[in-house]
């Protein structure tokens, strides 16, 4: 079982990069939670630390087996996650208007995070069979569509439209990667161009306003619009070298809401300045390209698509979270991998990186 070549081909660089980002995240989180007035929440930092430890174990477990067995395990994993999503709709803790968490003993789990991996694995399995260079036709896409839509709908019912949209983006990226047949693609785009205006027409006035306000935070100057301005001030005021560790004033005075989750990038940008924020952005870019490199080096379809899926997940989350805090994108609750506070997010990211390591270290195996 234990082939020495596995150790030889192990990608220490990738693991090191992941751990590096994790450390940056922990440092930033520490600042975010200790500077909070009036009540610093140091306990969140320690919880995150705990989750990182669990994540580390999960990451290692994720490459101890041959990833190819996931091909057989794809369905049970997928349906297991669907079951968790159903459970959260019925038994989930109701917080601030939605049910997103399952409480299991002392632990709060967010199934919508885990289901991302399940969808990636399920899609990788489907797309790795009989793939053609001409791409997938509409008929062939029905099954993937259902694989994607089931969890998206369940997540949307929580309601958590941000994560639901994220799953669509990740799955969409994977699908576009394996190519959609040209005519089907045009059909899809065409029908989208017709359906969307039609839906718009049927929406009630207040729903239209909600969507417009979502897309343009400035229309909500007392809510999202205000958050974005404060976030931009935080980021911009970091200037070149930042205000220094634990000295971020925007953060300290609780002007950044959700500063340990949605706007955590702003905390880092304020304290470490341009140098710090560019570093983190580049770290993520390197991680994503590294993941795509793993896909490049993999010699069979399942592993390739799996790696692309993981890279897509990290790409979209980083892009949306950072873009939002800079005012480029609407305000959606998407966690920054390894940096935002959230046990399920840390766990999911850790497992995904573990899978990347898995694919990478077995690239020489040909069966």
């Amino acid at each position: 079982m234990f082939d020495r070549r596995l150790v030889q081909y192990f990608d220490w660089g990738l693991m090191g990069l992941a751990i590096l980002i994790g450390c940056v995240g922990l440092i930033t989180l520490y600042s975010a939670v200790t500077a909070e007035t009036p009540a610093p929440q140091k306990v969140l930092f320690f919880k995150q630390l705990l989750w990182f430890s669990v994540g580390l174990i999960a990451m290692v477990s994720a490459f101890l087996f041959n990833y190819k067995i996931l091909d057989r395990w794809a369905q049970p994993i997928y349906f297991g996650c669907i079951a968790l999503l159903l459970a959260v709709l019925f038994f989930g803790k109701y917080v601030g208007g939605s049910r997103r968490w399952l409480i299991i003993g002392p632990v709060s789990l967010q199934p919508s995070e885990l289901v991302k991996i399940a969808v990636i694995i399920a899609l990788a399995r489907y797309y790795s069979k009989d793939a053609k260079t001409s791409g997938y036709t509409l008929r062939e896409l029905v099954r993937p569509f259902m694989i994607i839509m089931l969890p998206v709908l369940l997540i949307g019912m929580q309601p958590d439209l941000g994560t639901a949209g994220l799953v669509v983006l990740i799955a969409g990226s994977i699908t576009v990667f394996v190519k959609i047949e040209r005519r089907s693609f045009i059909c899809l785009i065409g029908s989208g161009a017709v359906v969307v205006p039609l839906i718009w027409f049927f929406l009630k006035e207040y729903q239209k306003q909600r969507i417009l306000t979502f897309l343009d935070p400035d229309r909500d100057p007392l809510g999202a619009g205000y958050h974005i301005i404060q976030s931009k001030i935080a980021i911009g005021s970091g200037m070149l070298s930042g205000k220094g560790f634990l000295k971020g004033t925007q953060n300290a005075l609780s002007f950044l809401p959700e500063e340990h989750t949605d706007f955590i990038f702003s905390v880092l940008a304020e304290e470490w300045g341009f140098l710090g924020s560019v570093t983190l952005v580049l770290l993520f870019l390197i991680l994503i390209i590294w993941g795509l490199n793993v896909a490049h080096a993999c010699r069979e379809p399942f592993g390739t698509i799996l790696a692309v899926g993981v890279a897509a997940m990290i790409f979209w989350q980083a892009l949306i979270n950072i873009g939002m805090s800079m005012g480029l994108l609407p305000v959606v609750g998407v966690p920054l991998p390894f940096v935002s506070y959230g046990g399920s997010s840390v766990l999911t990211t850790a497992i995904s990186i573990g899978l990347l390591l898995n694919v990478s270290m077995r690239r020489f195996m040909l069966d």
Binding site: I233, L240, L292
Partner: protein
């Protein structure tokens, strides 16, 4: 052209991955450019804005809706109040500022300091309330010295003003600070800690219409916390105005009449169910809640043995006494156990089983038919009718007349009242019903309990020919521009299960109560207004039937309650009234005069209104209306 399907192989994948890498790079370049813009190009500007956290949110409180009576007379208003706030971050150095402020406010600086220390959980960037409702002079002196008082600001807030002290206190209600439990409950999604919400009466029931929507402003402030620029404004939406059904003049008159006694008066429009008056005495001053009621004031209200916070009009449950005989009479006629020609003999007492049940008139009424029985309130007559009917049939009719369950008026804490049945008693006490108890029930004693509003609705139903309407307190909801949002229409909730002929018969008896030679309320007769009604005297303690002590010699708290229900004018009634005076003894002496004065106040101005209405009508028809 043959298009043969080519299997995707590793090379193909590698090609596509290269494309993906390019896309990822492009997206991240956008992020990097944005970072440069924010941190390098505009860095100075943002650094400056962050120094004092110059961009802040200010909240704009919405003006609360007002309350009017049915004629548009203002009952509850908002008036401006000047509140002094301090924002700690801008007020540095704190102690000299507080010392100076103490002079303006005429409060020692230590008190102000301890006040600041007491508020926890408020950020240094939010204004903290120091003193409410300072006078114009204080406002002027602070405004003039503003440069010397960094961080201090005076805001104009709107303060609730109940125009006439104690008027319709229970109906209108009062405001108070929202409690943490209420915030958590989710019933008040737009509210924040410190907001005032309706806690009682119409203020509570119509809270959602009255409150309006909060607005806000994004402002830029300078180093001292003074606003230098308003960036964006979201206007507050004022609350809607509530028009109650009551007639302010009548309400005022009723409350003046109830001054000094404990009781309630309810007046209803028979044709619509709209409440003209809802008065409960003693009452309380709603204005004392506005600034935040002190603990002593609250304690004195709660521990007052006369319970001024209790709305007796809907919460007070009393045995209805002889007013219940209306039900007994109609039930007896409808069930056929008596008819218009039935004559019974009243010698002043009635023997049943091994007990003697007395009539209130020692010597007895002699030969009594239904009309005379009602007019003179003969107990013996009704003992026999009740005996013939039995408790369950009486209960059925009483419930059909609306007793024993809430009327559904749109106010909290309405009481049920109680109408006993044989089954009920067995369940409650384990003891079966004794037939002798039915006799007490028939004259409105025993387990019977009714509220003044139930009796008013009953009187209204009798008055209008048998239709029971839900009592309404809301006439209209209007937007600030006067546009009507929701005009409340009468709601029929039942019909009295009696034939028109029987109803007319009893109504004749009720007319004679006031206008007949021997009517029990003949003292309340009016020359120009035709009143019909029924007196009631409900015993507080059960007295042995041969008790000889006169009512007047009993200690007050053991004296009977006085009831009177009435409607006028008898032909086409426009008002129905129920009055109860706790321990007032006789209905004729204590309650009827009050009802008479209320009816007088209401109807004597009515001829003027009728003229105006008639003129309008002819004008409409002239215009082809």
């Amino acid at each position: 052209m043959d298009k043969y399907l080519k299997t995707a192989d590793t090379d193909w994948y590698k090609q596509r991955i290269t494309g993906v890498i390019v896309c990822a790079l492009a997206a991240f370049v956008v992020l990097l450019i944005r970072l440069i813009v924010l941190q390098v190009i505009m860095g100075d500007e943002y650094r400056h804005l962050s120094l004092n956290n110059s961009i802040r949110l200010q909240s704009i409180d919405p003006p609360r809706g007002r309350l009017y009576d049915r004629n548009g007379d203002l009952l509850v208003d908002n008036r401006p109040s000047f509140d002094v706030n301090i924002t700690l971050k801008d007020a540095a150095p704190l102690d000299p500022t507080l010392d100076k402020l103490a002079l303006h406010l005429k409060t020692p600086a230590d008190t102000l300091l301890s006040q600041i220390k007491q508020t926890r959980g408020v950020s240094a960037y939010s204004p903290l309330l120091l003193q409410q409702d300072v006078g114009r002079d204080t406002l002027a002196s602070i405004e003039v010295s503003k440069f010397d008082l960094p961080g201090v600001s005076v805001n104009v807030n709107l303060r609730r003003h109940y125009i006439r002290e104690r008027q319709a206190a229970h109906l209108i209600g009062y405001l108070s600070e929202i409690s943490p439990a209420e915030l958590k409950s989710g019933s008040y999604p737009d509210c924040r800690s410190g907001d005032l919400i309706g806690k009682f009466g119409a203020e509570k029931v119509y809270e959602n219409s009255l409150r309006g929507k909060r607005g806000g402003r994004q402002v830029e402030v300078n180093a001292n916390g003074l606003v230098v620029r308003i960036l964006k404004t979201v206007a507050a939406e004022p609350g809607h105005n509530i028009y109650l059904t009551i007639d302010q003049n009548l309400q005022h008159r009723a409350e003046a009449l109830l001054e000094g006694v404990v009781g309630a008066a309810v007046a209803v429009e028979p044709a619509t169910g709209k409440i003209l008056t809802l008065a409960s005495s003693p009452a309380f001053d709603q204005n004392s809640f506005v600034g935040g009621i002190t603990r002593e004031q609250w304690k004195s209200l709660i521990s007052n043995p006369f319970r001024p916070m209790s709305n007796r009009a809907i919460q007070g449950e009393y045995p209805p006494g002889s007013t219940y005989k209306i039900i007994t009479a109609l039930a007896g006629l409808q069930e056929g156990v008596i008819d218009d020609k039935t004559v019974l003999h009243c010698p002043g007492h009635y023997r049943f089983g091994n007990r003697i049940y007395r009539c209130w008139k020692r010597g007895g009424h002699g030969k009594v038919d239904i009309i005379k029985a009602v007019e003179e309130s003969c107990d013996v007559f009704f003992y026999q009718v009740g005996q013939r009917l039995g408790v369950d049939r009486l209960a059925w009719y009483a419930k059909a007349f609306g007793l024993g369950s809430p009327t559904g008026v749109h106010l909290d804490h309405e009481a049920h009242g109680l109408i006993p049945t044989a089954a009920w008693k067995k369940r409650r006490t384990g003891v079966p019903w004794q037939e002798g108890e039915t006799l007490s029930i028939a004259i409105g004693q025993g387990f019977n309990l009714a509220t003044p509003i139930q009796m008013a609705v009953l009187a209204a139903a009798v008055a209008n020919g048998g239709h029971r309407y839900r009592p309404l307190i809301l006439d209209n909801i209007k937007l600030v521009d006067g546009q009507s949002l929701q005009k409340n229409e009468p709601k029929l909730i039942g019909k009295l299960p009696v034939s028109p002929a029987h109803l007319e018969l009893v109504k004749l008896g009720l007319w004679k109560v006031v206008n007949g030679e021997n009517g029990t309320a003949r003292g309340s007769r009016l020359a120009d207004i035709d009143i019909s009604g029924k007196t009631g005297t409900s015993q507080v303690i059960s007295r042995k039937q041969d008790e000889s002590m006169a009512e007047e010699d009993l200690p007050v708290h053991l004296r009977s309650h006085a009831w009177f229900v009435a409607y006028a004018p008898s032909e086409k009634p426009t008002i129905a009234v129920a009055v109860v005076i706790e321990h007032g003894e006789h209905g004729s002496g204590a309650a009827a005069p009050i009802a008479k004065e209320m009816i007088k106040a209401f109807l004597r101005k009515a001829p003027v209104n009728a003229q105006v209405a008639a003129q309008k009508e002819s004008a409409d028809t002239a215009n082809g209306g």
